[in-house]
Symmetry: C2
Subunit: 288 residues, 2 copies
């Protein structure tokens, strides 16, 4: 139910926490959607999932510098707080927490969280400082916004595993809820980084989704050998000269453990560079 | 005021958290004293400090394996839950949280917290896995026991800095309170590890406290050159053949930054092996 009250915009961690604590004290269930802003339908679906099951929904908007590598797109990452706020207000979001970098990382901040092996492969191999940055900022956000539930998108498959590992290992009292990937009409996964793509690149970007569809189709037809699946997927990508595949991984669902045969629920995850833009996508190939 | 109700002993993290949450919901201020058990007067002074300013006091007793190095004293570390409970009950402690290792570290636990440079010198140099173990278990305990205030002893000077760094960097909503070191009649700092000492070693152990007293005396007499102070301290230790000094550090109070001149509040910290037992102590040499 959209709230009639307007969304409050809070920049201070202390104020955000006090407001959340007061709401919890009054018995409200708090939902939390951490984002880097530049909100698209994928983010908004997380907000809607939270609104459905929580009394009050908090969205954080913070482009976290520590999860970007030195040569990544921190500076050009899209930012549009005004439009984000309008969208969240329309949905009935209770609070937007939009701290400055100084608020999150005052001088002298040094703590980093390493969640171990789940962060070591795939995205973690390609972007070694990424998941320590993610884990640390998520843990910190969970202290500032001590929500009952937090909502993350399946699109960032490995990130959902990292956050679950973090929450379990550190006994954080926030339930992690993973919501389905939201896609454009043609199947491309919603991502703030899609904004970087030229028209031609946008066409090439479809190759990621198509590779997932191809593999799913092959598995449905009875192909169980991952070497064969991988060969067919690479063949598929060869038809997209503007796409440089970073990795194609076949892992046991809910883990980053590679499988050699599709004999259990398996996620295929793919990362590729389309022009200068690095995109990721993933899909369960079989099972429920 | 000692409680008339008996202390509750809880082994389950979920139960501990639920009880603390319920007490907070009713408006009580929660104090927390994390310990490894084998409680001595030093620990009990922390409990008393908590009882003084909090409505309910939780003590955790957990010999955390991850803060011991491979060749350290995890196996022989003293344990006496029965006696610990009796002492805490007598004081009026509300809850003892005494989890098993499996409760704290179920299979697959991998997360580790690195608080950065404050953990890199002194104890961190001598025991490289120690502070990541401490930081991780303290953060986890703070999630299970979301206290308003947590009490730590000044004896573990660097540990208090590590915990403060952790709490600040991750916005943990628990206030860290540091209480004075409690000493035996002759000045030896209370430590569970003192139980390891033979009668002769106990005499040699006094050298740590005496070295701190010597340095404080020299500073009072006007010696400000740290090289000179260090020379005199090493000379002092030379008279204790059973004592192997690990380090003597002179650092700016509240930091691990070495000083070369005593021109600001300075802590002297010392670590030494007496027989097989590694002991630490520290003292402010000047200032308030």
């Amino acid at each position: 139910m959209p709230s009639t009250a307007s969304t409050q915009l809070i920049h201070s961690a202390q104020e955000a926490r006090a407001a959340v604590e007061a709401a919890k004290q009054s018995g409200d269930v708090i939902g939390f959607v951490p984002t880097m802003g530049a909100l698209h339908e994928g983010h908004l679906s997380l907000v809607e999932a939270s609104l459905d099951v929580c009394d009050r929904t908090v969205v954080s908007i913070f482009v976290n510098p520590t999860q970007f590598g030195p040569n990544e797109d921190l500076d050009r990452y899209p930012r549009d707080l005004e439009q984000d706020l309008q969208r969240l207000e329309k949905l009935g979001c209770w609070m937007v927490f939009a701290p400055s970098t100084e608020e999150m990382y005052p001088p002298g901040s040094e703590t980093l969280i390493d969640v171990g092996s789940v962060a070591g492969t795939m995205e973690g191999a390609a972007r070694p400082t990424h998941f320590p940055g993610v884990a640390t900022v998520v843990l910190k956000l969970f202290q500032i916004v001590p929500a009952d539930r937090a909502f993350f998108g399946q699109k960032d498959y490995q990130q959902t595993l990292v956050v679950k590992q973090l929450v379990r290992d550190l006994s954080v009292p926030t339930e992690v809820v993973v919501c389905p990937t939201v896609r454009e009409a043609d199947g491309v996964a919603m991502s703030s980084r899609n904004a970087y793509l030229s028209t031609d690149e946008r066409c090439q970007a479809l190759s990621l989704w198509k590779s997932l569809q191809l593999a799913k189709q092959l598995v449905a037809e009875g192909v169980t050998d991952v070497t064969e699946l991988n060969r067919r997927v690479q063949q598929h990508f060869a038809a997209f000269p503007g796409v440089e595949v970073d990795y194609v991984a076949f892992v046991e669902a809910g883990t980053v453990q590679p499988v050699t045969t599709i004999d259990r629920p398996t996620v295929m995850a793919v990362a590729a560079r389309v022009g200068k833009t690095r995109l990721i996508d993933n899909q369960l190939l079989n099972g429920a």
